[in-house]
Symmetry: C2
Subunit: 218 residues, 2 copies
């Protein structure tokens, strides 16, 4: 692995474990046994590292795992797979989401990239919900779509933060994501048509079982 | 105003304006023209100040403004008044909510108090929704109640953070709260009964108008 990649991987690990605000570029260099000068050869400062983490890793993970709406896949599975992937991505870069407003305010270039990606995600989520409506699985008015998408993104983005604030037991395991997916299903449920209700409840049972299993395994 | 109160007020102001992580106890003392020793006579450290802000101000604001469910008030107005008050409280202590998971992780006593208050709020929100169901204005299953309350609290807590991450224009004015209340109404809408739909849409029109007016005034 190249030094640059090593710095990025070590930073993700240290930020997640000890909190981004407690880690300096000196900590990262010491952790890797390299000189601060070597680190500065690759990155100007900590904000620069965070920007690279977002641009080269988090961004792609969020955009690449977005399943294409395709006729061979059940529409409901498309959205569930996506929600699952989003919650896993948030876990991988949890230092970013635990502290998002502050990090974006400090780092205007990161904020710009973030807004760009969110815009793409909104578009794809809208398409996904529209394809569920076309398949007669969901029912909503055109004027409701933007709000539903926005609340979905809010829950995606801050579910982990919310979970961590609600409990003194801060250990994060898989059950937390399955719980997040179940919350998304609560939000979607009122819009599911009568004819799709059975398939919807079946999908919910799958996630309830996964949630139960992961709690038992933890 | 006593020195202790002055320290608290100045801290709220500085934290909100410049971000809590950029402000030290020395900045606060210098801002007030008092010696660091004088500040330390009242508070051991910054965490101690944040804890007092939460316990003496934010906590009470959230709990005291909770309108009691009473027969003289329309049930829908009760919940709207509350949501309005919650969003205003979040604005007043926005440094806390912009950074909640990190601040709670650093401050176990604050985390404990926070979980306690959230527990009380969950109970009151549940009562409120149940009173709307008793008045035949909402319809939901008992098993859905906890999830609806939890999503309401998530939107309350992170609406401001979400808003700030979505736009490069970080100025916060009243329109942001009205937009938050409107999002809460989107979440509640599918549970509103046929007979209450007119009253609900009327309330929504009021908030849509307030949102529009505050945008025009900004």
């Amino acid at each position: 692995m190249k030094t640059r990649d090593k710095i990025i991987q070590a930073s993700i690990e240290l930020f997640n474990e000890q909190g981004e605000r407690n880690i300096t570029t000196n900590h990262i260099a010491a952790h890797l046994g390299i000189s601060p000068g070597n680190l500065y050869y690759h990155f100007r400062n900590k904000e620069d590292i965070i920007l690279s983490i977002y641009e080269e890793y988090a961004r792609n993970l969020l955009l690449d795992t977005f399943p294409k709406v395709n006729p061979e896949m059940k529409p409901l599975d498309t959205i569930l797979l996506y929600m699952d992937a989003v919650f896993q991505a948030l876990m991988k870069f949890r230092f970013l989401y635990a502290n998002l407003p502050v990090l974006l305010a400090k780092n205007p270039l990161l904020h710009e990239k973030y807004v760009e990606v969110q815009h793409i995600i909104s578009g794809r989520l809208s398409e996904m919900l529209e394809s569920l409506r076309d398949a007669d699985m969901m029912d909503f008015e055109d004027e409701e779509l933007a709000d539903i998408v926005s609340i979905l993104r809010l829950i995606n983005t801050f579910w982990l933060s919310f979970y961590q604030t609600q409990t003194k037991d801060t250990e994060i395991n898989d059950s937390v994501f399955f719980e997040g997916v179940l919350k998304i299903l609560v939000l979607l449920r009122p819009y599911i048509t009568e004819s799709a209700k059975a398939e919807f409840l079946e999908a919910r049972t799958v996630y309830q079982q996964r949630h139960k299993d992961s709690l038992a395994a933890a």
